[in-house]
Symmetry: C2
């Protein structure tokens, strides 16, 4: 798969899945719902203010087909709780953020009583279609884990590999990024990278091929790897980039979008179902891609 | 100035300057010398093995014009020491790395007896021409300082601003990068960014306009800043990006080159003269740009 648009095709062959949206009563959110329904991607259960939902629906010509159900809630906390509970009750396959802060939605996700934590680390996985790279490339973690510990990095890697497998990559090549290719005790990124490689070799991180530490050029360019004399089947062909800190992930994510004209799909994984946290600045195309990646990555039937 | 090629024009109106090259007896290095001499950029004093220098010169048709002088040395340590001493004696305006490790050359630069340290932090400054950005953009530090302290970041910023002024930007806009725009005590990058902004406001970092913490998109996109409600004259118009760690700088640097098709010029500043540390993987065009940036940034007459 070389294009994000194929995600949409992949969703269409699945059974019809339900997306639960917390606080859907916003124009941008309902436009995304409308586009997804028109593409016959999935069904939705919307939580939000009934009057607002109906008003915006009229404004944007959203038709209340059988694919869309809604429940009136009186505030965002209730919205988050009910949207999460629908997932917990097994009635939704994906959770999506509407007009509510990410923090508030994630608080409901992690709630001990009605939440949908799966015991794992939650991590952000972004999948990119970059014009200057020969295949799709995944990046994690660009938005959730600030300064991941080594154990967090193991979980982040496993989460990314599970998404890769869901989109059809059976043995993804994982490049662990640092600023250099040799292990330097003064550079934690290189130490952790070497340890991740070892865990992969010992079979403790499975279904993928991990190598590093690699600087970015070694991960994505065979020529750069050759010049530096690095022989690795991951070098120049990375499917997944694991970054050392949120600052590296966030900067790369945005440089791909703003400087390399990449398209993207991004989700949070590690809870019972994938979570879509699109923001207003995402293009409508990227929103559909994120929703599709979540639907493809949902393993609940 | 929107293109790196204008650096070459800027060099040509300067007086003829001398570049001292440690261990110049390598084909790639002498090809760069040949190109620079043909462009009438500067003069060179080469240190290296005489036989090798003469052999390679014949192979590549390098003519020994009055612009090129050479001194035979018997090993790389002597090469580094003599190349540095030429600068210390006021006879060269730029130091350039030839077929020698960066570590060895920098050791000579920092030598207490004959070195050319200027009491400041040495930092790496890279200037990019990115097709998707409206002007040249500078990045620091992508290669020298691993985990810069706050004081290091002040010096890194001052070094970058001095280079910006040398290429004709009188009051560069400096964006201090982090993963978010609000100060979070758990994210040192945001704390340092706010402190750099304060130092700028109090006049302790001068001749520039510092703002941040900014995620990358806020630094380079007015639209992203508007959507997030961030009002700043630096937002969307950054001339200089200051990164929190070498991993962020290195990843961005390489994503600009490999994914955003950027051209680049990079030098080390903070010593008595700018230092050029090009590597074999740099294109010949980027090598000329780096040399030009060093020549333009040399303040010794």
């Amino acid at each position: 798969m070389q294009q994000l648009a194929t995600l949409i095709e992949q969703v269409k062959v699945q059974q019809n899945r339900v997306v639960s949206i917390a606080q859907a009563d916003e124009r941008e959110v309902l436009l995304a719902v409308k586009a997804a329904v028109e593409e016959k991607l999935c069904s939705f259960h919307l939580f939000g203010d009934q009057t607002k939902l109906e008003t915006i629906a009229r404004e944007i010509d959203l038709v209340w087909t059988e694919r869309i159900t809604y429940t009136h809630v009186s505030n965002v906390e209730e919205s988050a709780q009910k949207a999460v509970q629908l997932v917990r009750d097994g009635k939704a396959h994906v959770l999506m953020k509407g007009n509510i802060s990410s923090a508030l939605l994630l608080k409901a996700v992690l709630n001990k009583e009605y939440g949908i934590r799966a015991g794992q680390v939650l991590s952000h996985v972004a999948l990119f279609e970059v014009p200057n790279y020969s295949k799709l490339i995944m990046l994690s973690d660009a938005a959730m884990n600030i300064l991941p510990s080594f154990d967090d990095k193991v979980a982040i890697t496993n989460n990314a590999v599970s998404v890769a497998r869901n989109i059809g990559l059976n043995k993804p090549k994982v490049a662990v990024l640092a600023a250099v290719e040799s292990v330097n005790p003064n550079m934690q990124a290189t130490v952790d990278a070497a340890a991740l490689v070892e865990m992969n070799q010992k079979g403790k991180i499975q279904d993928c091929e991990v190598d590093g530490p690699f600087a970015f050029d070694i991960a994505v360019s065979k020529k750069a790897a050759e010049i530096k004399g690095i022989s690795s089947s991951v070098a120049g062909e990375a499917d997944i980039l694991i970054v050392p800190t949120i600052e590296v992930g966030n900067a790369l994510y945005k440089s791909f979008i703003y400087f390399a004209q990449a398209k993207t799909a991004a989700i949070i994984v590690g809870a019972k179902v994938p979570i879509v946290l699109t923001s207003r600045s995402d293009s409508s195309e990227n929103k559909l891609y994120s929703l599709s990646l979540a639907l493809v990555s949902s393993t609940i039937d």
